[in-house]
Symmetry: D2
Subunit: 148 residues, 4 copies
Amino acid sequence: MAENVGNAGPVVISEGPFRGWMTWGAGEDPFETAIGPFCFRGSGSAVTCAFEPKRTHLNGGGTIHGGALMSFADFALFAIAHEALAGAKAVTVAFHCEFLSPGGLDETIEAKGEVLRATRSLIFVRGIVTQEARALLAFSGTLKKMAG
Amino acid sequence: MAENVGNAGPVVISEGPFRGWMTWGAGEDPFETAIGPFCFRGSGSAVTCAFEPKRTHLNGGGTIHGGALMSFADFALFAIAHEALAGAKAVTVAFHCEFLSPGGLDETIEAKGEVLRATRSLIFVRGIVTQEARALLAFSGTLKKMAG
Amino acid sequence: MAENVGNAGPVVISEGPFRGWMTWGAGEDPFETAIGPFCFRGSGSAVTCAFEPKRTHLNGGGTIHGGALMSFADFALFAIAHEALAGAKAVTVAFHCEFLSPGGLDETIEAKGEVLRATRSLIFVRGIVTQEARALLAFSGTLKKMAG
Amino acid sequence: MAENVGNAGPVVISEGPFRGWMTWGAGEDPFETAIGPFCFRGSGSAVTCAFEPKRTHLNGGGTIHGGALMSFADFALFAIAHEALAGAKAVTVAFHCEFLSPGGLDETIEAKGEVLRATRSLIFVRGIVTQEARALLAFSGTLKKMAG
């Protein structure tokens, strides 16, 4: 199973374009530190996730790599589910997405979504990754809470 | 739509642990260069894809980040479909995966799979990402060939 | 590939609880005639699909069978995409869903959704099947228009 | 959540073309009784599922309806997982499929697959629906065991 909400939970970014947004603690998620930073603000269905696309996010065709968009969407699953998780740790059990449009370097890439259902052990989330008015990726995922 | 087979096609790696394996040309895919290198050898259903997990692939739980596994699976879709594409460029239209087990830093991570169907415009691929005997990720994807 | 918009297109139901709603012509879709009728009204993102659950839709656990919900969702993909298809025939290329809650016989089962993107050849649709206030199924699908 | 393994478990068919195969008890699964019968034989990864396509399984295009194939695939998830479930009841949590080729009325439709992973609470299954040598549907699903 996949991603794991860091023990220490999110921290507030103190400077730069995402000042006031939250992300996982520095070094707490090495992969997201390497390809991000990915950040979010708000809670519940009002969560907005964002990252600044850089040249290192591009594929051979000069558009944002599908893996970068899926990694961001995986981050977004946990940000959107953050309130529903109420501090519980979870892993991604299943993930699905459709690639709707190519992304570029021109604008911030955002993700919004909603918790469709939260049971005792599972949380179902879906969302859309956008760049300005353009929908890039539609995604959904199933998270499983980890025991204690 | 997402990933794009680089114009120049795969090149052979001339040194290191994956000497003789193929990857996209240096700098041709900035994202895969940054988080990879991902490489493959063989053709058709005999394709094997591989990468060496590093600390930068880890999530906050100390296992391989789901985004890293999905990025590798997206690479694998194109490596597995490489023969069927016969030089045509393509993009990922839809991607699905299940996370079966957590990955670690101990062993090379590999992916194998098969082209389920190739029509004039679409290629359906599925595969499994493994680490030694352990299945980490089951994935499937739909690729769309790009017009000329 | 899967479902096919009937040649004659939808017809208006002239009697019964769904009087004024649309469905495919009688006998035009034998499977939906057998397990439906499934019907819809409205257009674009205002489309509402509906069917009356009967005992024959139940599984061994006494709730609506997953296959019945998925069959209804497949119908809904085409109803939601009906305007975007503009008379073109299409097939389902890929389908994904999450089962959120069990359905029962108490209330009409409905589906609503949206066209996420329509390209020259593909239409991406997502939606949710509900029963009263309860979300039963979240689904998404990729439709491919058929040549002329 | 969706399908539910019937309380009484599978029974052996005593006559007809599928004599000796197993199915859920008569009337135990009303939906599958109505659109099936679906049956299976063997155990573990040697399970073969089958049904005889009839005119009532067709869509408006004269091929097997996607909903019929998905309903059969949902049945197959439980038949393939039957041994791994070891009598436990389960529901489908998530389902995914790609439609590879249209099905017809000419030959028996079969499904085979494998349990990719079974944890304490989840079972991951994938498989392929075929008609003779033709692959019609590739599917995967996540089953959740029900408490007690």
